[in-house]
Structure formats: structure tokens, C-alpha cells
């Protein structure tokens, strides 16, 4: 079951285990320059607002209502990253693992394959949460992604249009599978306890032009990790999935009656203000190789040249960034009593 709470998708499997709670939210962020240099991780600038599609069904295209799910607003050429976390045992330092498959326009963000329910192990077409704390884009090669950047459907920029040749779906698709209960319990029992237990925008004319998809933007250093538990750890008989529609921010107020979010700062302005960028590596995990089909996509910058269209604004290289290294939770040093 999936609930929407505080702009976060709360995906629960109470019949598998009480700890089996996966959280997914969508973070606003800077768009990194699309200049073929690789950049560190940009910051999270807060969650995108998210609404139930059915609450605004009279103002949305019929296809959106049929797909169900939720909608969020993005400006053209605005970037996004997806944030994951999961529930944990109250007495152990372990969080419930999930296999999470993410697609944009029904194109898998890890493999570049077209959408299919279910998990594939070779090549691995899913992320493992919480080992993978976030996803910022399409996995184009080992340790490198191309940032998720919103572009209007039909203009030819999105990964979906470049791979399938059609502007049919747009948005983001997600399906979540919990770890099998017995595998989780084994993990919990192997883990050191934290505490010793003995101690469209008009009513009359809803139309598809409001729809946005995700296109490959600038290059970013981010690893997508191999499944360390193995394919048979996942309970593939249980899953929850959600279609996340992306509505052009210009139509957000008309469709939802809620105020339009402010535009995020540019990467250059953010860096000029001496604000930090981030790097995250977990040396205990192996990164996946990128997908050839995704590596072959034109980035927005390259596509605009091919289409002889106006290049992206605010795309100048950012020469020096203040970068903060973030450790995976297993590497964090615990402060004791002293």
C-alpha cells in the first residue's frame, strides 16, 4: 500500500513485516551544467509538492486519471533527485531493505530498457534501498549518471522519446519490492543490537501539453550499487507501484489551486554563495556498469544543438566547488559517552 504524507510516498508492507516501510520523496535541486564535465552531487533544496491525481481529475488529461498515482510540478529544465529511506528495527541498527525499480517515461533509469513489472537480475534493473540513498539521474557508465532534467513531452529531448521514438508516458514510474521476511529477520539477528535487550489546464480543455518527461542533463559522479543480498532475497510476490506525473509548473496553480513553487537558484549562484556540493561513496559496495543505451542518449545540450534550438540558459561551467564528503551510515563514527 502507498500513502502520500507530507509530500512523501510511504510504501508499507504490513503483511510482510512491521518494519517494511519504504519512503520516497522528490527533492528540488540545482541543474548542473551540461558541458560534459562531471560534477559532484548537488544539494537538496526541499521536497517537491506532491498531490493525488484523482483530486484534480477534472483538470487533467484523461490518460493521467486512468494511470492514477500522483503529480508534482517542475519548471522546464528544472532538475530533480529521488530520495529513499526505509523503516528500521527499533532495537537494531539495520533498516529494512527494498528493491526499487525506477523509470522515467517507462524507460528504466538503470538499464535503459522499457518498463516491465518484476525484477531482473542480469543486468540488475533495480536499486537496493537503503544502500542506495538517492538517485539523481540515468546511469550512463560506472560511477556516472546524467542528471534528471524536466523537458516538455513532444520536443524530442526526453530519454523516452530518444529510446522509444514516442512521447507516450512522461513522468516517473516506481515499483518497490520488500525483502523476504525470513531474510530480514536473519539480518536483524546478525546485527549488533543498539541497546542490549537484557539491559492541461482548463476544465473545458484538459490537454497533454502540460505533461513533462525527464531528459538526460549534465554528468554527475554517482554510483548505482550492485545488489549485495542477491536476487532471491526479494519477495517478488509483493509489490507496490506508483506513476508520478510531472506537471509543468506554469499549470500547477491552475490545476491544483496551490501556489507555484519558486524557481531554484542556478548552480552558478549557489556556488558563488560558497554553499557546498557533496560526494558519496560506499567502498564496501560494487557500482553497476552503466547502460549502453543510456550512454548513447543525447544530453539536452547536445540535442538542442542537433535541433538547432536555443541552448540551455545558465549552463556555464562551474570551475570550483566546495565539496563535502558524506560517508555511508556504516562508516559514520559514533560518538560515545565521555
Amino acid at each position: 500500500m502507498i500513502e502520500l504524507k507530507n509530500d512523501e510516498l510511504l510504501i508499507q508492507f504490513p503483511d510482510v513485516h512491521e518494519d517494511a516501510v519504504c519512503r520516497v520523496d522528490f527533492q528540488r535541486t540545482l541543474r548542473i551544467p551540461d558541458d560534459n564535465r562531471d560534477y559532484p552531487l548537488p544539494p537538496g533544496l526541499g521536497r517537491f509538492s506532491v498531490e493525488h491525481v484523482e483530486d484534480h481529475s477534472s483538470r487533467l488529461p484523461a490518460a493521467w486519471v486512468e494511470r492514477g498515482g500522483v503529480l508534482l510540478p517542475m519548471y522546464q529544465a528544472e532538475a530533480l533527485w529521488i530520495n529513499f529511506s526505509s523503516g528500521s528495527s527499533s532495537r537494531r541498527s539495520i533498516s529494512y531493505p527494498f528493491a526499487v525499480k525506477i523509470a522515467a517515461g517507462k524507460i528504466n533509469a538503470v538499464t535503459g530498457d522499457e518498463w516491465a513489472n518484476g525484477l531482473a537480475k542480469d543486468p540488475q534493473d533495480y536499486l537496493v534501498v537503503p544502500d542506495q540513498p538517492w538517485l539523481d539521474g540515468f546511469c550512463v557508465q560506472k560511477g556516472l549518471i546524467r542528471q534528471f532534467v524536466a523537458m516538455p513531452m513532444g520536443a524530442g529531448y526526453t530519454a523516452e522519446e530518444q529510446i522509444s521514438g514516442f512521447a507516450a508516458h512522461g513522468g516517473i514510474q516506481i515499483i518497490v519490492y520488500p525483502m523476504k521476511r525470513d531474510r530480514y529477520e536473519k539480518l536483524v539477528n546478525r546485527t549488533t543490537p543498539l541497546f542490549d535487550p537484557d539491559i492541461c489546464y482548463s476544465l473545458a480543455d484538459p490537454c497533454e501539453s502540460v505533461s513533462m518527461g525527464l531528459a538526460p542533463g549534465g554528468l554527475m559522479r554517482q554510483e548505482i550499487y550492485e545488489d549485495k543480498y542477491g536476487y532471491d532475497a526479494w519477495d517478488t510476490s509483493r509489490s507496490s507501484r506508483c506513476f508520478i506525473h510531472i506537471l509543468n509548473s506554469a499549470q500547477w496553480e491552475i490545476v491544483t489551486g496551490k501556489s507555484v513553487p519558486r524557481k531554484p537558484p542556478s548552480a552558478a549562484d549557489y556556488t558563488k554563495a560558497a554553499l557546498p556540493w557533496f560526494e558519496y561513496y560506499d567502498e564496501k559496495l560494487c557500482p553497476l556498469s552503466g547502460a549502453k543505451s543510456l550512454a548513447g542518449l543525447d544530453s539536452i545540450g547536445a540535442k538542442s544543438v542537433k535541433l538547432s534550438e536555443k541552448p540551455l540558459s545558465e549552463n556555464a561551467p562551474i570551475p570550483e566547488q566546495k565539496v563535502i564528503q558524506i560517508n555511508s551510515p556504516s562508516h559514520q563514527i559514533k560518538e560515545g559517552n565521555w
Binding site: E3, P14, V53, E54, G68, G69, Q173, C242, N337
Partner: protein
């Protein structure tokens, strides 16, 4: 069920074992009340504080605000508003849910609808 003050004291002292900044004085300062007032609340000498203070305490101690409000015999103002807007409907709903087990209540929460795609 624990009384409000007793629950707060146990939660705070459990945190203090791991982190000394959860002393009575420092928690009171973060919540914006006098340490003596917090001490009397914890010992049950004073009644539970206002909703605002309970919500701040929940934030500082990492507790669920609705659970703390319930222990204090209160209902958060946003829930009151929800009930006041449709009192008959929600009163009936809550009475019907009184005996329903937790897992069944979880099934009646509003889910994100999945359609054809």
C-alpha cells in the same frame, strides 16, 4: 499506560544515557520552558503543558506528537479541525473503528491509486 510526565521522563533519560545534551536543563532550554516546570511535569506534579509545548517536546525527544498529545489527554488542533468540519461523519467513523485491529485500520487509510499504465 504510562502517564504523560512519566513517559517524557523515561524517553528523555533513555536519550540522556546516549547523549548528555538530553539533560533536564538542556531539553527545557530547547523547548523554551523553565527546567523547574519540566521537572514538575515529569513528576506529575503539574498537568501536561499546552499543545505547542507538547509538539516541541515531541520534536526534541524524537517522539510522535500525536502519541504524546493522546497521553496528555489532548487532540491536536488540526485533528480537531478535521472532525469539526464533518462531525457526524467522523464521530460515526471513529466509533466504528474502535474495535478494529491496527492492520485493518491501515487498510482503510487513503492509498495512492494505481491505474492502467
Amino acid at each position: 499506560m504510562l502517564h504523560f510526565g512519566e513517559h517524557i521522563r523515561q524517553a528523555r533519560e533513555a536519550l540522556q544515557e546516549q547523549d548528555r545534551t538530553f539533560s533536564l536543563r538542556q531539553v527545557a532550554a530547547r523547548v523554551g520552558i523553565e527546567p523547574a516546570y519540566l521537572s514538575k511535569i515529569e513528576r506529575g506534579i503539574f498537568q501536561p503543558p499546552s499543545e505547542d509545548v507538547i509538539v516541541k517536546l515531541a520534536g526534541v525527544l524524537g517522539e510522535d506528537k500525536d502519541v504524546l498529545l493522546a497521553l496528555a489527554g489532548k487532540l491536536s488542533s488540526d485533528l480537531q479541525q478535521i472532525i469539526i468540519q464533518r462531525p457526524k461523519l467522523f464521530a460515526e467513523l471513529l466509533r466504528q473503528l474502535r474495535e478494529v485491529p491496527d492492520y485493518a485500520i491501515l487498510r482503510v487509510v487513503r492509498e495512492v491509486r494505481d491505474g492502467q499504465w
